[in-house]
Every structure is written in C-alpha cells, then in structure tokens.
C-alpha cells in the first residue's frame, strides 16, 4: 500500500490519497494519470493491470486500486 501511495503522491503531491474516494468522479486524476499509475504499478509492484480493469470504480480511491492489485495477484496465483 505504501508503494502505491508513493506512486500516487508523485503524480499529485497535493492530494490526500488516504482520504480521497472520488479520484476519478471528481476529476482529481485523469485518464493520462491512470495510464501512468498502471505503468508504475507494473514497473514497481510487478502487477499487470489489463485494460478491462480500468474502470472508475477501481480507481476512485487508493484503497480501490490496492484491492484491484490484490485481486489480480490472487487470480494469477
């Protein structure tokens, strides 16, 4: 989770990612950001997030993104 929070904070240092839960709906992160996040997660956390998982629900909060990462890890195991 810490690694994920690092990735997010590097993109938007001003945002409190531990609290925000409307990241996509409120336009705090945009589609460019999401692509960057996905590639960072692959690079640093070794988890490949396929396009089908990129939905507003899965990216609306740091917790949602983390749950997605865990879900993919389980599916690959």
């Amino acid at each position: 989770m810490d690694e994920l929070l690092n990735i997010l904070s590097e993109l938007h240092p001003d945002v409190d990612f531990e609290e925000e839960d409307m990241l996509v709906d409120d336009g705090i992160i945009d589609s460019f950001d999401i692509v960057t996040i996905v590639s960072e997660i692959q690079e640093r956390m070794d988890v490949v997030i396929g396009a089908k998982y990129i939905t507003p629900e899965n990216f609306n909060s740091a917790e949602a993104i983390y749950d997605l990462i865990e879900q993919i890890r389980e599916e690959e195991a």
Binding site: G27, V35, V38, S39, A51, K52, I54, A77
Partner: protein, 500 residues
C-alpha cells in the same frame, strides 16, 4: 420519422398506451416491435445492416461467453497445473476469444466504413449502434456482463428507438438494468419524462431550428459573412448545436423515463467547464467515455505501447519518457474520434486540434499550478467565469469545422476576423421577434443549468407545490406551439448529430 414530428407524437402516444395496458412481461417485446417499426419507417433496407450487426455480434458474444466458461473449466479440471501451464491455458482461450472479436469487429467496422464512405446507403444510427454493439461485445469478453441469450432481447438493446438515432452510446450493463424489466405505470415517471420531452422540443423547435436560419445564411453566403461575422457565426452555431443535440437527448431521456427506463445523461452543463479537458467530461459524455474505455485504455496499456514506454523512458528520461506513449495513444484515439464523425479532413482536423490543445494543456500543467498558487485572485468567481468563457470560445471556434467542411476555408475565415464583413444584420434572415425569442430561450437554458446544479431539475421541481409543474408544462407547451418552427413553409429539421 423525426422526433419532432406529428407522426412521432402519434407513434409515441400509441406505444405508451399499449405499453401500460399489456402484460408487463410483454413490454420489452412491444418496445422491440415499436423500435422495428420506427426503424423501418426510416428506410426498410437499412434493417439489413442493423440485423446483420445484431446477428454477428449476438452470436460472437455467445461464443465468447462459452469460451470464457470453457477456459475456467479447463483451469479447474486440473488442480496440479504449474503457473506456466495455467498461463498457457489462459493464453489459448484468450487467443480464441481474440480471434472471435477480430472477426466480428472486422465485419461490423467494415460495414460501418463501407456505408459511410460509399454513401450508397442511408442506415439510421449506424455509427451509434455499431459502437454500442462493440462496447457490449468487449464487456462480454471482459466478463463485465453476461451475453444476452435471447437474440430478440439483444436486438431491442441495439435498436431501442429513443437511443438509436443519436445515442447516448449506452453502457449495456447500465441500460439493461431497466430496459427489459416490468414497468408499472407511474404518474411521476410520465410527468417528469414528458416535461423533459417538452423541454427538448422547446430547444429543438423554438431555438435550434430558428437559429439554423441564421447559420444557414452565413454558410450559404460565406464570403459576405467574414470579418466580425465569423465570431457571430461561432456564437450562433454553438447555440444551434447545443440546443439541437441536448434537446434531442432530452427527448431521448424523457421518452425513456416515460417508459420507466433509465438512460444515462450525455451532457452536464458543458459550457461551465474551466478547461477543454473538463469540457470533454461534460459534453457528449458517452462518446468520450466509449473512446476512453474501449480504445484509449486498451491502446495505452497494450504490450507494444509498454515496449515503447521502456524505450522512451530510456532515451528521453523518466519524465518526458512516460508521457510520450500516452500522447501517442491519445493522438490515435482522437484520430479515431475524428474519423467516426466522418472520413473527411475537417473532422480529423477538428479532432487533432482538440488533441493538440489537450496535450499543450497537459504540458503547461505545472505552469498553471504555479500560477494558481501565486495568484489568489485566480481562484475567484470572476476568474472562473473567465475560464469558462475561454473554454467556450475555444470549443466554439473548433465547432465551426462542422459547418465549414473545407479546412483552408475555415482558416481563411478566422484570418479575416479583423477585416470588415459586407453583410448586414438583416441578411441573417431572422426578424427582431426571432432574436428576442432566441435571447430569452438562451437565458432560459442558462437558468436551467444554474438551477439544476449537480442534480436533476425535475426532481427538484416535483418537490415543489403542484402549481410549479403545471406552470412549467403549460409554459413550455405554449412556447412550442406558438414559437416552434413547424407547419407550412418549414422543412422539418432532422437533428444535427443523426448524420454521424
């Protein structure tokens, strides 16, 4: 049969009455029949194309469902598989699914391209239902939804008449939450839906079709309407497109509401947006979402793009390197967006200019942030209004590509802004009475946007005393009857966005 025609009103009345009289489990079948009738009345031969898409997508989706099930079963069957063996099985089934998708897409996008490029056939809504069908297919492949087993139910999704002519590009999962259900008669649904339809009629018949006269005058006598008229043309066409498109969608959503079916919003106060990026989250929302979901994200995370990312990170450094593949993906998607509007230079230029603006804004982001941090007045209301006006100016200027299809002519017109134009006001073809109606109508649309806020205006209205609704109904109804552009001497105007 246009939405804003006597025939359609008659058609809707009959459909509504039957809908609430017949057994509820037959309602979807009535809707399918109504959609088929509506579609056939717009050209029977077009049905060939629509049913073709319906059949190919329907059976492809069923096949995908089967392959997904078989793939899962193959993995479960053998508990003692290694990670590599499991990946191999997944790959095998993924390849089969991808082949199915590629074949289905080739046929349907090929059909779309052929129809649009050849111009030999008029197929109502082909650009819309094709994308909606593709979205459904991709959602089935992703396991987001299960394939619809009944071909006729799927055909209803594809040809649902309120949505078929100009969208929204519905999400299959969301629309089918209410599309096939059993709907009880509700005065509130009928009332709120009808009010929405009336509002759409008002925008279309009173405002869009009226300002169309002036816009036509400008386009037809383009050379005399240069200089400052270029800006006037911008304002007028933007007004026309906004009233026309959002009015049409209001009718779509309103009719659906009367049927107890929820259709997603396609516009949300787009001209209040402080930036072009924000604008695309509030204008033609379903189109932006479709291209993002089914084109932008898949392209930007696909293996070749990831390889490119490695390359650009290595050769252009971390910061720039990360952005290049994203911009390339975005450029491809915008090109496709332009192409979807039409295989012509003006639409593609329009799209690529939007892309360029978004890319430049993205690059200037650090500067904007620093500016907003330094200058407190940049967060003030007047400055926010300025930002909205600036955005409106930019998107209006680009909208002109819709009506000036020659790219050189488009730029020539803007270059002439500071030279005098020869036309006079009366040449626009409207009388003072018309201009008053347009101004009042524009103020009404602005007021509605302000009042509705983030929620639904009809919901707020229904909570007020009954007299408020009555006044709204009566007012709009009278306005449409008295000021609508219809009757002898007028050519019924089809919605602008149905030609895509």
């Amino acid at each position: 049969m246009y939405f804003t025609s006597y025939e359609f009103i008659g058609f809707m009345a009959v459909t509504l009455v039957l809908y609430y009289l017949i057994p509820k489990r037959a309602q979807w079948m009535l809707l399918l029949t109504a959609s088929a009738v509506f579609y056939a009345l717009n050209g029977v031969t077009a049905l060939f194309w629509t049913v073709g898409t319906g059949l190919t997508v329907h059976f492809s989706a069923l096949l995908l469902d089967k392959l997904i099930k078989d793939g899962k079963a193959a993995l479960k069957e053998n508990e003692a598989l290694t990670k590599e063996e499991k990946a191999g099985i997944r790959r095998k089934y993924a390849n089969r699914r991808n082949l199915t998708i590629v074949l289905c897409l080739t046929v349907n996008i090929g059909a779309l391209a052929f129809v649009k490029v050849s111009g030999l056939f008029a197929v109502l809504g082909i650009s819309y239902y094709t994308l909606r069908a593709i979205g459904y297919l991709m959602d089935v492949n992703r396991g987001t939804v299960k394939a619809e087993r009944n071909f006729f139910r799927f055909m209803l999704y594809l040809t649902f008449f309120p949505v078929v002519i100009q969208g929204p590009l519905t999400d299959y999962g969301k629309l089918t939450e209410t599309l096939y259900g059993e709907h009880r008669f509700s005065w509130e649904n009928i009332g709120r839906g009808l009010l929405r339809v009336l509002w759409g009629f008002f925008k279309k018949l009173v405002l869009a079709d009226r300002v169309f006269v002036a816009v036509s005058a400008i386009v037809e006598n383009e050379s005399s309407f240069r200089g400052p008229w270029v800006l006037a043309g911008m304002a007028l066409y933007t007004l026309e497109l906004y009233a026309d498109f959002t009015g049409g969608i209001d009718i779509t959503i309103g009719i659906s509401e009367m049927l107890g079916i929820r259709v997603q919003e396609n516009f949300d106060r787009p001209f209040f947006s402080p930036s072009v990026k924000e604008y695309w989250r509030h204008w033609h929302i379903s189109m932006a979402a479709w291209f993002r979901t089914y084109l932008f994200y898949p392209i930007s995370v696909c293996p070749p793009m990831k390889k490119l990312l490695k390359f650009t990170r290595k050769h252009f450094g971390e910061k720039a390197g990360k952005r290049i593949p994203v911009y390339i993906s975005s450029a491809i998607v915008w090109f496709a967006t332009g192409l979807w509007h039409g295989p012509a230079a003006n639409y593609i230029t329009w799209a690529m200019l939007h892309f360029a603006i978004l890319m430049i804004s993205e690059e200037l982001e650090p500067l904007y942030e620093a500016f907003h941090k330094k200058c407190a007045w940049a967060s003030s209301k007047p400055y926010r209004v300025f930002m909205s006006l600036r955005t409106l100016f930019i998107v209006s200027a680009l909208m002109q590509f819709d009506i000036f299809t020659s790219v050189p002519l488009y730029f020539k017109r803007f270059a002439s802004v500071f030279t005098p134009g020869t036309a006079v006001f009366a040449d626009l073809g409207l009388n003072p009475y018309d201009w008053v109606i347009l101004m009042v109508g524009t103020l009404m649309m602005f007021a509605v946007s302000l009042l509705k806020g983030d929620g639904s205006l009809s919901e707020k209205l229904w909570q007020k005393p009954y007299i408020c609704r009555t006044v709204a109904f009566a007012g709009l109804f009278l306005a449409v009857i008295l000021f609508g552009m219809y009757g002898p001497g007028y050519d019924a105007g089809q919605f602008i966005y149905t030609r895509f």
